[in-house]
Structures are given as structure tokens and as C-alpha cells.
């Protein structure tokens, strides 16, 4: 029954009282705009926090050895725990583990090392890495490649360098194929990377030189030591549970008491991420509920005006019924009007809201990495969801007036005064 003049009829009856319709539409407009701003503000908060964690897999676990705090298996307390190459395979085989990246850093964690290229000298971090590390730290490869399995197997003297290393040592020149020198050892640059991480962490990352893990051990005489492990769980694996099993494995391998919390330490990014996700989930719900409530206020306005409209059109509805309009047709007509009013107002709100949010996003993008909000956005799926909500809200708003319209008795309506 929906054809051209269904729309024509809806349009004529809605435009019969232009001011009234416009004011009612304004209520829906504000309702949806507020809903949109609320939801995108939630997203903005979330991305503000996430950009601090960007550049790392969200389910990463980092582990390093310290000193034992209690004697165990005949060994004394205060014994250093040092991870080694023999830990790698068992960790890889642990159920639920996806990537394992053993790491060594020259001079220790975040230490600067003198690195030379020709006459240029800089202080950078030097790390020995496996190819797996790129799935945990997620560097953005700008040129060349990351460390690969052949580098590891052949102990090649190659290096993948951060953007800052490239600019400081090589200036504007292409660093690929060039040599750099660390502690008297020469490495050939095979790749340059950037990072998604921002702030201090981002700066740190692009001031790092990655060399193959095996090359590192040989060149810098670190034997089979591993300074720390970075690993990630497979999709759907509980971060907390995985961490516990990794601890148990390493404790057993290094004869650490199961109760000794000091000997092996770690940082679970996944657990941290899950915690903030939970918090943002709650914030999203609160913002979403407030947004929906404001939309509901608009819907009540629609419902109200439709009630008045139905009363004014008692005679018209009576005529339609006398001519054969079934109650369902009357209900459909009123609900269609309510939905149309809500949808038109809603689409304007979507357009205006998307524009405002895009403007805000531009503004926030210029605010620098330490601004607490990320750029807000309106997703396509939000627009689809909003349209569905508008239709539902419109139908709901039209329901009571429609039932009232269907109950109009043609005998009463057509009685001539």
C-alpha cells in the first residue's frame, strides 16, 4: 500500500501545520544530535586513552627476571633469574600463545648506545629481536623490511632503524644499504620504521635499532641470555590466565618457588587493556542512555503532536473509514506520519551532527599527542543504527495516536452539527 501518494499524503498532512511540525521536528533533531555527540564523545575519550597504548598489541605480556626472594629446590634466595634461549621453544609451545619475542637490549633497558655512520654519531637504543616482535610492537615499515627468519638463521649483520635514527644519522639520504657501526660492529640497514605510538613512548621507539636476535648475542657476547620476553596470546585467550601459565612455566624452568612473586616480573598489557575497556564500556552505556533519553524526549513531542493531529482530523479519519479504510490502514497512516517526521528530523540531525563532529575532530587532531581526547568520529554503523532507532522511536511515538485514530467511530465523526 506504500506508493507515491502514501508519501504525498504524509507530506501534505505534515506540512499543513508547518510551524508546529518544525518545532516537533526540532525536538527530535536535538534528541538525536545529543545522542550522537554523547556516543562520539565516548569514542573520543576511548581513542584518547588508546592512542597512549597505540603501537603495541593490546594483548601483549612482557616478562623479565629479577632475584629470587626465597630459597627453593636447594638453591638460596637472592639468586638472579636469567632467561635464556632454551626458554623460547617451551614458551612457543604453550597453549594459547601466538607470538613469542625474546629480546636483548644493549646496555640494558632503554639505554643509549653510541652509534656511528661516517662522521655522524648518535645515542640510540640497540635491541636484538626476532621477527615476531613486529607483531607485538607493530612498527610501521616506511622503507625496506623488518628482521626475517633468514637473518636469524644466518646471523646476518643487518639493522632495521627507527625514523629518528634515520634522520639523525643519514640526514635526507636513503639509509637502505648503508652501514652503521655499533661497538665496532658494522650493520647494513635493511629497513626503516615509524610508529603509531605517540608522546614519549613513540619517541623512544623511533630511536631504536633492531638487529637479529642471534646476531646480537654473537656480536655483543651475551651468550644465550634473554633480557626479557614479549609475547601475545591468541585471539580469545584470557590475558590473565595466559600470564599465570607463562609464570608457572618459567618458574619451573628456573627453579623458582611457585610462591615467589619477586623473581619473575611482568607487565600484562592485555589485562590493563581489558580493565580500561571495561571502564569505557560503562561510560559508553551511561552516555548512550542519556543520549537515548534525550531522543525519547523528542519522541514524546512527536507522540503529543500526533495525538493533537489525530483529534483535529477526526472527521477526515471518519470519512476514510466510511469509504473503507480498515483499522490497520488508519494505524499505518498515523505511524507512517510519525516515522516520516522522526526520520526527516533525524537525518538532518545526522548530517549536522556529523559535520560538527568532523569539525571537532579536525580541531582535536591539532591538539598534540598529550591531549586527553582522541578525534571523535561517526561510524557508518552508527548511522545505520541511528536510522533503525529513529524508525523504532517514530513507530513507538505514533503507536498511541494511531490506536486512538483507529478507535474513532465513523458515526460520531460524520455527525453533522
Amino acid at each position: 500500500m506504500i506508493d507515491v501518494d502514501s508519501f504525498h499524503e504524509i507530506a501534505t498532512s505534515l506540512t499543513r501545520h508547518k510551524l508546529r511540525t518544525a518545532l516537533t521536528a526540532l525536538g527530535v533533531f536535538f534528541g538525536l544530535t545529543i545522542f550522537m555527540l554523547m556516543v562520539s564523545f565516548g569514542g573520543s575519550l576511548r581513542s584518547g586513552i588508546n592512542k597512549k597504548m597505540a603501537g603495541f598489541a593490546t594483548n601483549a605480556v612482557f616478562l623479565w627476571g629479577q632475584r629470587t626472594s626465597e630459597p627453593y629446590a636447594g638453591l638460596p634466595a637472592n639468586r638472579p633469574v636469567v632467561f635464556d634461549n632454551d626458554d623460547i621453544e617451551p614458551l612457543r609451545k604453550l597453549a594459547g600463545v601466538e607470538y613469542v619475542a625474546p629480546r636483548n637490549q644493549l646496555g640494558g633497558f632503554r639505554a643509549g648506545n653510541v652509534v656511528k655512520h661516517g662522521s655522524k654519531v648518535g645515542a640510540f637504543q640497540v635491541a636484538g629481536d626476532y621477527p615476531d616482535f613486529q607483531f607485538i610492537s607493530m612498527p610501521l615499515i616506511r622503507a625496506g623490511r623488518y628482521i626475517n627468519d633468514a637473518d636469524i638463521a644466518d646471523r646476518r649483520k643487518v639493522a632495521v632503524i627507527g625514523e629518528s635514527v634515520a634522520s639523525e644519522l643519514f640526514g635526507g639520504a636513503d639509509p637502505i644499504g648503508q652501514a652503521l657501526e655499533v661497538n665496532g660492529i658494522h650493520f647494513v640497514v635493511v629497513g626503516v620504521f615509524g610508529t603509531r605510538a605517540t608522546g614519549q613512548q613513540g619517541d623512544q621507539q623511533v630511536r631504536t635499532i633492531h638487529v637479529p636476535f642471534t646476531t646480537f648475542q654473537q656480536a655483543f657476547h651475551t651468550g644465550n641470555r634473554v633480557s626479557w620476553f614479549a609475547l601475545t596470546g591468541k585471539r580469545g585467550v584470557d590475558a590473565k590466565d595466559l600470564e599465570q601459565r607463562v609464570y608457572a612455566l618459567l618458574r619451573e624452568r628456573h627453579k623458582v618457588a611457585p610462591t615467589d612473586d619477586a623473581a619473575i616480573r611482568g607487565f600484562n598489557a592485555g589485562a590493563q587493556f581489558a580493565k580500561t575497556e571495561k571502564m569505557f564500556g560503562a561510560i559508553d552505556i551511561v552516555l548512550g542512555v542519556f543520549g537515548l533519553l534525550s531522543l525519547l524526549a523528542g519522541a514524546i513531542g512527536v507522540s503529543n503532536i500526533m495525538l493533537i493531529s489525530v483529534r483535529e482530523r477526526t472527521k477526515e479519519i471518519g470519512v476514510r473509514k466510511a469509504l473503507g479504510a480498515r483499522p490497520t490502514a488508519v494505524v499505518g497512516m498515523v505511524i507512517a506520519e510519525a516515522i516520516m517526521l522522526t526520520l526527516v528530523a533525524g537525518f538532518i540531525a545526522l548530517a549536522v551532527g556529523a559535520f560538527a563532529i568532523a569539525k571537532a575532530a579536525d580541531r582535536i587532531a591539532t591538539m598534540g599527542p598529550d591531549f586527553p581526547l582522541g578525534p571523535p568520529e561517526v561510524s557508518f554503523s552508527f548511522s545505520v543504527m541511528a536510522t533503525a532507532i529513529l524508525i523504532a522511536v517514530g513507530a513507538l511515538a505514533g503507536l498511541i495516536p494511531a490506536v486512538r485514530a483507529a478507535a474513532i467511530s465513523p458515526v460520531e465523526a460524520l455527525r453533522d452539527e
Binding site: M1, D5, G318, A322, R326, P327, A329, V411, R415, D416
Partner: protein, 227 residues
């Protein structure tokens, strides 16, 4: 075409029941033109509402053709009104925001007839009442006589079993009344059954017989006098 037997209708007024129609018997043959007269309060409006399937009755039987009209649901009543009955009202009851042709086409809209087809049919019916040139005008731009002609075209478009006219000349001057009554007579000559409710004797005189109602009863001697 139409047969009422022992129709009774009550209205609840406060605590007591008002007996509006008392054992009304009525038979109208196909192709007849019948006038129903009566003072206000005689029950003629109620009778018309029952004939038009706008209202229910409490006892008796109403046969419209071979269809028993009794205890219908709202949807079924609407369907029967649409198929069987053409209404003409005193105040025309055209929808003011629709053009003449759209008004005439409205009953077909509720039959699900496609727009193009129903507007074509509506134009034919407008032509029959001599208003083809006024198809795109709104009721506000038309005279009372023209509006009633549009209403008559609307009543005829579904090819109903009967046309019910409630004081069809009540809002018209005498000259226009005469033209409208002539149109009814013409329609009746094509074989359409017409039932008019009126309190004007000269209008009733156009009908082949007159049924008088008094206090909810059909006056027998006057039925006998008719035809």
C-alpha cells in the same frame, strides 16, 4: 437487494436503555430509489448508519444482497462498506487537501488499486457527473453543487450495491438541489439502488416510495401508500 427484518437497536443513556429502532422491517428491491423520512429523533440516522454498516444493531437480520450483515469485525465492516456501499453526505465530506480526482479515487486506494489506474477510473466518474474539467481543483475552489457531484462520483466509483445519501441537498440552494436530485434520478435509471434520507418533501417526492419513521417504528400505512 436489501432486507431488514425485526431490527432492534438500543442506546445506553445513563442508567437506562433507549430503544431507538423497534422491530424495523424494510425491503428494497434492486434498482429502487427510496426515501426515508422522519422527524429528528425518529431513528432515521440510526437506521441509515445500520444500512451503511457504520453501526451495529442488537437484534434482527440485515441482508445486503446475499450477504448477512451482522456482528462484523471492524476490518470486515470496512471491507463491506468499501465494496457494497456508496455514501453521499450532507456536508460532502471531501478531503480538503485532495483534488477532485483524488477524492473520487480514494475508495479505490483502500482496495489497493494502483494509483494510475484508480485516477483514470476516477476521471471517468468525474466525467459522468460533468466535472472532468475540474479534476485538479480542490474542494475549496468548488461550489456546493460541484462538491456534491464529486461526492456522488466518489460514491459510485466502487460500483456499490446501494448508494446511501444522508440529506444530500441539505446544504444546497433549491436550484442546485434540483440538479443534484436530477443526477440521483439519472443514476437510479442506470439500475443503481438509491436510499435517501431527507426531511424535505420535494426531495422525497423524487423517490419511487417513501418510508416514514416515527419513534423508531416504520409507519405501516405510509409504506402501503408508496409505490
Amino acid at each position: 437487494m436489501l432486507r431488514l427484518s425485526k431490527i432492534n437497536k438500543y442506546y445506553a443513556v445513563g442508567s437506562h436503555r433507549l430503544h431507538v429502532l423497534r422491530d424495523v422491517d424494510l425491503e428494497v428491491e434492486g434498482g429502487e430509489m427510496v426515501a426515508i423520512m422522519g422527524a429528528s429523533g425518529s431513528g432515521k440516522s440510526t437506521l441509515l448508519n445500520i444500512l451503511g454498516i457504520l453501526d451495529r444493531y442488537d437484534a434482527g437480520e440485515y441482508w445486503l444482497g446475499d450477504t448477512l450483515i451482522r456482528d462484523l469485525g471492524e476490518g470486515q465492516a470496512a471491507r463491506y462498506r468499501n465494496q457494497f456501499i456508496g455514501f453521499v453526505f450532507q456536508s460532502f465530506n471531501l478531503l480538503p487537501f485532495k483534488t477532485a480526482v483524488e477524492n473520487v479515487a480514494l475508495p479505490l486506494y483502500y482496495q489497493g488499486v494502483p494509483r494510475r489506474q484508480r485516477n483514470r477510473t476516477a476521471l471517468q466518474y468525474l466525467d459522468k457527473v460533468g466535472l472532468a474539467d475540474w479534476a485538479d481543483h480542490r474542494p475549496a475552489e468548488m461550489s456546493g453543487g460541484q462538491k456534491q457531484r464529486v461526492a456522488i462520483a466518489r460514491a459510485l466509483i466502487t460500483k456499490p450495491r446501494i448508494v446511501l445519501a444522508d440529506e444530500p441537498t441539505g446544504a444546497l440552494d433549491s436550484k442546485t438541489s434540483e440538479e443534484v436530485m436530477e443526477l440521483f434520478a439519472e443514476i437510479n435509471r442506470t439500475g443503481m439502488t438509491v436510499i435517501l434520507v431527507t426531511h424535505e418533501a420535494d426531495v422525497a417526492a423524487k423517490a419511487q416510495r417513501t418510508i416514514r419513521l416515527r419513534d423508531g417504528k416504520v409507519e405501516p400505512e405510509l409504506v402501503a401508500r408508496a409505490s
